[in-house]
């Protein structure tokens, strides 16, 4: 029972300890993971903005280069067409400048001067072909007037920059640019009369730009770029890009549903993770940033997304997780040990109380209790002690009552002498003893003479006092070890231990009779009563209590009748 409580309490404390350390560990671990993911989201957003900035930078560099080339004097010569020969020479010089520019920038695929006249016929064109520069001239020059980068740029005022949307180049014969995704950066070239004369256009290679961007990104980052309709332009799987070229729409909103608000222009950026949005970003951390493109272009933008596997982000949480598990295990062991120690310490006073209770119930002995404690156990101990005291006092009064009852059962209430029952008990005991050791004893039967007259004359109250006085006189006359009992009425019995001769008994009987018959003053009246005394001896007159008492009774009767007949003999006749 007690060990059961110990186990339960220890278990409870241990469970609390383990739970609290486990929960603390779990909370620390998940807080750490959340922090990691949130940091990763921040990193991705920054990196996505960085990607956009780098793209923008590349476009601005191309724009600067286009502006630089546009300022060459040969450009004006070609556009304004000052005679055929100088224009021819100017074209050659421009071609050299364009080739130099191409050689300098591997991300440029074409540098061209396109005229506004002749349906946008190319005037000077240098392509990148197999990594080398190649001038395209003569009949190979093409009419480009129907391409947006031409008619849109021609519509711009001088000094402005046009930037096309990112798309796959379908211009046949564009050498390295053909079939490759890219964008055009162009600036208009007005004629000296202010009319649009042409444009200078640089063709940027998206793959080259993205390749550089990818190389700068941390490992494990996946780069996505979509145009304003959501069509993927950059995707880790190249087959997923420019789906619209094949009549299929492979949209960012479909792959990443959460990006929809970006395309609806409701959001400018977005970061989410599989930890917080498991539906939308299962197992991944991602960030998307909407980036406006072009200058003065009608609301064009791209959405750049960076995605990282959630596991990679949470990888660094693994060692911490392991350490937390170790700590939780260690704290759990400590908790178990402490639980046992505490449980024992807490149960010790309870055990003391329990032991005290069980020993008290067996021995009624009070043990030392922890009454000095100030806690509930102290209260319990004090209450228990009080209870013990109460029980002890109740027990004592119970014994007293019992003793009194027993006294009343064996004594005569009037005279305080032993009653007939107690006398016979003593007689039986003495008989048993004497039957073993042969010790003789005597039984005297005393009957008062003329007591009836006292009663009749003076009333029962006086009679009772007479009986009491006689009893006292009898007690005074016999030895302390002898027993005087009242048989009832005016009859007394006396048990005398020892070997008595008839003479010695006769003397004692005389002495008794004299003592009784001495005059007594009761309630102011002088009274005198006599007594007839008979006796029997053990073993001479009987071997049972009844025999002995009957014999003594008979002898007393003889004495009484003899005295009434004038004869005085207190001795039985044989």
């Amino acid at each position: 029972m007690r060990s059961g409580l110990l186990v339960k309490l220890a278990l409870l404390l241990a469970v609390f300890g383990i739970l609290s350390s486990g929960l603390t560990g779990y909370y620390a671990f998940s807080a750490h993971r959340t922090m990691l993911v949130s940091a990763a989201q921040g990193d991705l957003l920054t990196a996505a903005r960085g990607v956009n900035r780098r793209l923008l930078q590349a476009e601005e560099e191309a724009a600067d280069d286009a502006m630089l080339l546009a300022r060459l004097v040969q450009v004006a010569q070609v556009i304004n067409g000052h005679g055929d020969r100088p224009a021819r020479q100017a074209r050659d010089e421009l071609a050299q400048a364009f080739a130099g520019m191409l050689a300098l920038h591997p991300e440029y695929l074409q540098v061209r001067l396109i005229g506004a006249a002749d349906n946008g016929l190319e005037l000077v064109r240098v392509d990148s072909a197999g990594g080398l520069t190649l001038r395209v001239d003569g009949q190979d020059l093409q009419e480009k007037g129907h391409f947006p980068y031409v008619f849109e740029t021609l519509a711009l005022p001088a000094g402005q920059i046009y930037q096309s949307a990112i798309g796959v180049n379908h211009e046949r014969g564009a050498h390295d640019a053909e079939g490759r995704p890219g964008l055009m950066v162009a600036t208009p070239l007005p004629r000296s009369d202010g009319q649009p004369g042409g444009l200078l256009v640089i063709n940027l290679d998206l793959e080259r730009l993205v390749g550089q961007l990818r190389a700068d990104l941390p490992k494990g980052y996946q780069l996505y770029i979509a145009n304003r309709w959501g069509d993927f332009l950059v995707h880790p799987d190249p087959a997923q890009t420019f789906g619209f070229e094949q009549g299929r729409r492979i949209l960012m909103q479909d792959s990443f549903a959460a990006t929809q608000p970006l395309f609806e222009r409701k959001l400018n950026n977005l970061a989410l993770s599989g930890l917080e949005q498991p539906q939308q970003a299962a197992g991944r951390v991602m960030a998307f940033v909407r980036q406006p493109v072009g200058q003065g272009n009608h609301d064009d933008f791209v959405v750049t997304g960076l995605v990282q596997p959630l596991d990679a982000v949470l990888e660094s949480a693994v060692p911490l997780g392991q350490r937390i598990i170790h700590m939780v295990l260690a704290f759990s062991i400590i908790a178990i040990l402490l639980a046992v120690v505490f449980a024992r310490a807490m149960l010790r006073p309870i055990n003391t109380l329990a032991q005290a209770a069980s020993s008290f119930s067996e021995t009624q002995l009070q043990q030392v209790l922890p009454v000095e404690r100030n806690d509930e156990i102290g209260v319990l101990a004090r209450n228990f002690e009080r209870m013990q005291r109460q029980i002890n006092s109740h027990m004592a009064s119970l014994y007293d009552n019992q003793r009194e009852l027993s006294y009343l059962a064996h004594h005569d209430s009037l005279t305080g002498l032993a009653n007939r029952s107690l006398f016979f008990q003593r007689l039986e005991q003495l008989l048993q003893l004497s039957q073993r050791n042969g010790a003789p004893f005597a039984v005297l039967f005393v009957d008062l003479d003329h007591f009836k007259e006292v009663n009749d004359l003076h009333g029962h109250a006086i009679g009772d006092q007479v009986l009491q006085i006689v009893a006292r006189r009898l007690l005074h006359t016999v030895r302390g070890s002898d027993m005087v009992a009242r048989m009832g009425g005016d009859e007394y019995l006396i048990l005398l231990q020892g070997n008595f001769s008839d003479d010695a008994l006769g003397e004692l009987i005389d002495k008794l009779r004299l003592s009784i018959s001495e005059a007594m003053t009761v309630a102011g009246q002088r009274l005198e009563v006599g007594a007839s005394i008979g006796y029997s001896l053990y073993p001479r007159d009987g071997s049972t209590a009844e025999q002995l008492v009957n014999e003594a009774d008979h002898a007393m009767y003889h004495v009484k009748s003899g005295r009434r007949g004038g004869k005085v003999n207190s001795l039985p006749c044989g």
Partner: protein, 345 residues
């Protein structure tokens, strides 16, 4: 407790039985385009015929062809494809003839679609292989504010009055075909070499007259509005018309007197189908007014049951057919599109 256990057991057995029944149900496998078999339509069919329907969607002719040729995966029972593609599938032996008696709903179709002989690709060797379902014409979309009278000829695209106010679709096949129509060539899908050479020059002329060529429908809409375009070749037909109107353009739709190119998607049954009756029940179901009626409402497409405002009964329609040499047309078109001059062909 005992009662609970019993009811649990009963439940499990019931579930197993249900699964068994579900497994035992016939499964109809449908290969279709988005919008042709919406979930509610499929569900109603499943309820009526107590079958299970699995729909696989494709978004291009190539994807459809690839699915039909996939070695692994389920065998499809029915497919939807245009008339030109149907000829290809028939030639590859992938189709099973249909029983007109099982397709009573074809009687609800417009006369144009019941004249099977007039639509190449529906019949082969006198037997029915494909049933028209939906179509889209490629008419001329024009700005009503710039045209007092709707244009009635394809040649309006070449009209110098509308120089740089014309949009065309960036596609070799269709551009050759409608230029052939505009040039009075009777067989626009089967050009001779000489005809082709002549059309190249006409297409260069067209290139010089257009503002640009669009690819995506939304791109076309945006260009139309931003550059105040007068007219465009409506490759996406009435769907494009709707999106332009939604964008605020006051546009009309004209069917040129030379005729209009149109694609016509049909339902057909695969040769591999093991449930021809169910497959034809599906095709018949697709022609119910309640089902076909969803095409204009949900997809902006025309159905074969009711006349559309854009296509008058007498209008000449040239349903797309495989062209004589698609690769050559495309290669020539790439040169034209890239800006090659007349002398470089």
């Amino acid at each position: 407790m005992a009662f609970n256990k019993n009811s649990l057991l009963t439940g499990i057995i019931g579930c197993l039985l249900c699964c068994q029944l579900a497994v035992a149900k016939d499964v109809l496998r449908v290969l279709a385009w988005p919008g042709y078999a919406d979930p509610d339509v499929v569900h109603a069919f499943e309820q009526r015929f107590q079958v299970s329907v699995e729909v696989t969607f494709v978004d291009s002719d190539e994807a459809l062809w690839a699915k039909m040729h996939a070695v692994a995966g389920p065998r499809f029972d029915v497919l939807a494809a245009n008339t030109a593609e149907m000829q290809r599938y028939f030639a590859a032996g992938l189709l099973k003839p249909l029983d007109p008696a099982l397709l009573p709903n074809t009687r609800r179709q417009l006369p144009r679609f019941r004249n099977l002989a007039a639509i190449p690709g529906l019949q082969q060797q006198g037997r029915l292989y494909a049933v028209p379902f939906t179509y889209s014409t490629m008419g001329i979309i024009y700005d009503r504010r710039q045209f007092a009278v709707p244009p009635d000829s394809m040649n309006v695209l070449w009209d110098p009055r509308y120089r740089h106010k014309v949009l065309d679709f960036n596609s070799g096949q269709h551009n050759f075909s409608f230029t052939a129509l505009a040039s009075g060539i009777a067989q626009p899908f089967a050009l001779s070499a000489a005809q082709r050479d002549r059309l190249v020059q006409r297409l260069i002329a067209l290139r010089r007259n257009v503002l640009t060529f669009y690819s995506l429908p939304e791109e076309g809409t945006e260009l139309f509005i931003r550059h105040k375009i007068a007219l465009m070749f409506g490759n996406y037909g009435t769907q494009q018309l709707n999106s332009l109107r939604q964008a605020g353009a006051d546009v009309g739709y004209a069917i040129p007197r030379e005729g209009v190119l149109a694609w016509l998607d049909c339902w057909a049954m695969t040769a591999a189908s093991s449930k021809p009756r169910l497959a034809q029940q599906w095709i018949n179901y697709m022609l119910e007014p309640a089902v076909s009626g969803l095409l204009p409402a949900r997809q902006g497409l025309a159905n074969t049951l009711s006349a559309s405002d854009e296509l008058k009964p007498g209008a000449k329609v040239l349903w797309l057919q495989p062209v004589e040499n698609a690769a050559l047309r495309e290669a020539l078109w790439q040169k034209i599109y890239s800006g090659d001059r007349p002398g470089s062909f």
